[in-house]
Symmetry: C2
Subunit: 250 residues, 2 copies
DNA sequence: ATTCTATATTTGTAGGACATATCCCTCAAA
DNA sequence: TTTGAGGGATATGTCCTACAAATATAGAAT
C-alpha cells in the first residue's frame, strides 16, 4: 500500500513560526525518513495523501518534495509514485560552492579542508598507489609548463592534484576536492593578502614540487610523502594560520 | 531596478530532456548567478517576471526558487522580493547525511574524509591550540568512563574529537565532522567487518589514547601529534585500506 | 518635518483543471 | 497457454486563478 512509516507533525511546530509551511513539511518528511530508518526503495505516500495528512495544499507538498528530489533523497516517477533514494552526498555542494557567493571566512575554511584532506589522506594514498599511477603522475609533471617563479601552471596544478585525489579511491573526497579546485584559483586571483605567503619563502623552508612528491610516492615513503605534502602546501597553511591568529586577536 | 544580469536559457535545453522544467529553471538560475558573478544582496526578478522569461507557470518558478532558498542561495521576503544570499556550504549536508540512506561505499568514503581531516588538520591545530584548550581536553579525558577493552565511551569519544575540531577554528570543518559523528557510531554498530580492525591489534602497533594525544598537543609537537593521531585512528585506516584493496581486486 | 494611513506590490498558500507517463488489467489472437 | 494490443486507472508534471499576508512606498494629516 506504499506507506511511509508515519508522517508525524513535528513535535514542536513552534520552531517553524516565521518559517514557511514548506520548510515545516520538508523537515517533517526528512525527520520521518530518519526516524523510521527508511532506506533506498521505501515508498512514500502520494502527494494528495500527504497534502491531506499535513492539511496543506498540494502546492506546498510539491515544493517540499521538489527540494528532497533535488538533494537526491527521493525519486519520483509518474504513476509509480515516490521512493526514498540513495543521494550523492556532494551533489548539493556543486550548487552552493561559488566563490563570489561565499564569505571570505568560508572560503578560507574550505582551503583548510583541502589542505587537511590532502595531507591526511596520505596513509590511504600510499596504500593504493600503483605503478601506473606513478607513471601517470610523471607524465603530468613532465608536461608542466615552466613559468615564472611563484607563478604556477594552474591547469597542470589541477591535473596533478586531481590525479592524487583519484588515487585515494575516495569518490566523495574526489568530488569534494575537484569542486573546490576553482575556489583555489579564485584565492590566487582575488585574495591579495595571500600573495605574500605564496611568494615569500621562509628561511630554511624547502620548496617541494610535484616532482618531489612523486618521488616519495614511488618509494612508498609515507612519512616522507606526508611531510613533503605539508611543505608543498605550506603557503596555504601559513595563510590559514595567519588568518586564524589575526582573528583570535580581535 | 533590481535585475539579475540576464536570465538566459541554458545553451542546450536538450540536456534537460527527460528532466523536468523545474530542473531546467533551477540550473539556469544557478548558472546565471555564477556567470554574472552575483554576490550577496543582488536582486533577482520577481516570480511573475521569471515565469514570463522562462515561459513557464509560476508554479515551476516557485519550485525552482524553493530549492535555491533551501540551499541558502537566495532569500525572499514578501513585497521586497528575492536577493542572492550567502549560503552555509554545509547546510545541505545535514539533510542528506543519514547512514540508513547512504551506500556502504559512501559511508566508508566519509570515514576516509574524517580520518584525513583529523590527521591533516594537525598543522592548524598545533598553531591554534591554547592552554585553555588543553585544560578542556584534559577535563574530557578525565571524565571518560572506563569500559571494557575495545569498547569506547562513545559520548566521551565524540566530546573529545568535537573539541579538537573546535580548536581548528574551521567552522565548515567543524560542521562537517560534527555531522559525521553519528555516522561513525553507525559504523561501530552496523558494520560487522569493522569489528576485527577495531579489536585486533597488529604486532608492534602502539595504542594511542586521547590522553596521549593531549600530551603531544601540550608539547606543541606537530610531527608527534600527527603520527599519534594516525595511530589513534589506525583501525579506521586499516579498515578503509582493506576495503580498497578488496575492491580493486574485483 | 513627522507620524499615520492607505495602497500597491510581491511572496505564500489553496485548489481546480488538464497533460503525460506508466502500471495493470482485460480481452483477443496465435 | 502464451503473447500482444488496447484501454482504464493512477500519480506526477504543469498551468491557471484567486486570495491571504506582509511590507515598502507614497500620500494625507498633524
Amino acid at each position: 500500500m506504499g506507506f511511509i512509516g508515519l508522517i508525524i507533525y513535528p513535535t514542536n511546530m513552534e520552531d517553524y513560526k516565521g518559517a514557511t509551511l514548506v520548510d515545516w513539511v520538508e523537515n517533517s518528511i526528512i525527520k520521518d525518513i530518519r526516524d523510521n530508518k527508511l532506506s533506498k526503495g521505501a515508498e512514500i505516500p502520494n502527494e494528495l495523501e500527504l497534502a491531506e495528512k499535513f492539511d496543506v495544499g498540494r502546492n506546498v507538498i510539491r515544493e517540499s518534495l521538489s527540494r528532497l528530489r533535488m538533494l537526491g533523497i527521493i525519486e519520483s516517477r509518474k504513476r509509480r509514485g515516490m521512493v526514498v533514494a540513495q543521494p550523492n552526498v556532494m551533489a548539493a555542494f556543486h550548487k552552493v560552492v561559488n566563490p563570489h557567493m561565499l564569505s571570505r571566512e568560508t572560503i578560507i575554511d574550505l582551503l583548510g579542508m583541502r589542505v587537511s584532506l590532502e595531507i591526511g589522506s596520505a596513509p590511504m594514498i600510499i596504500n593504493n598507489v600503483t605503478d601506473e599511477d606513478i607513471a601517470a603522475l610523471k607524465k603530468i609533471v613532465a608536461q608542466e609548463r615552466v613559468t615564472k617563479k611563484s607563478k604556477v601552471d594552474i591547469e597542470a596544478e589541477k591535473a596533478f592534484h586531481f590525479k592524487v585525489y583519484e588515487i585515494s579511491k575516495n569518490k566523495a573526497m574526489l568530488d569534494f576536492l575537484s569542486l573546490l579546485l576553482p575556489v583555489f584559483t579564485f584565492v590566487y586571483e582575488n585574495f591579495s593578502d595571500f600573495d605574500r605567503f605564496n611568494k615569500g619563502k621562509k628561511e630554511g623552508q624547502r620548496i617541494v614540487r610535484h616532482k618531489d612528491l612523486v618521488g616519495y610516492l614511488e618509494a612508498r615513503d609515507l612519512p616522507g610523502y606526508q611531510k613533503a605534502m605539508e611543505d608543498h602546501l605550506i603557503a596555504y597553511i601559513d595563510f590559514i594560520n595567519y588568518w586564524n591568529n589575526q582573528e583570535s586577536e580581535k
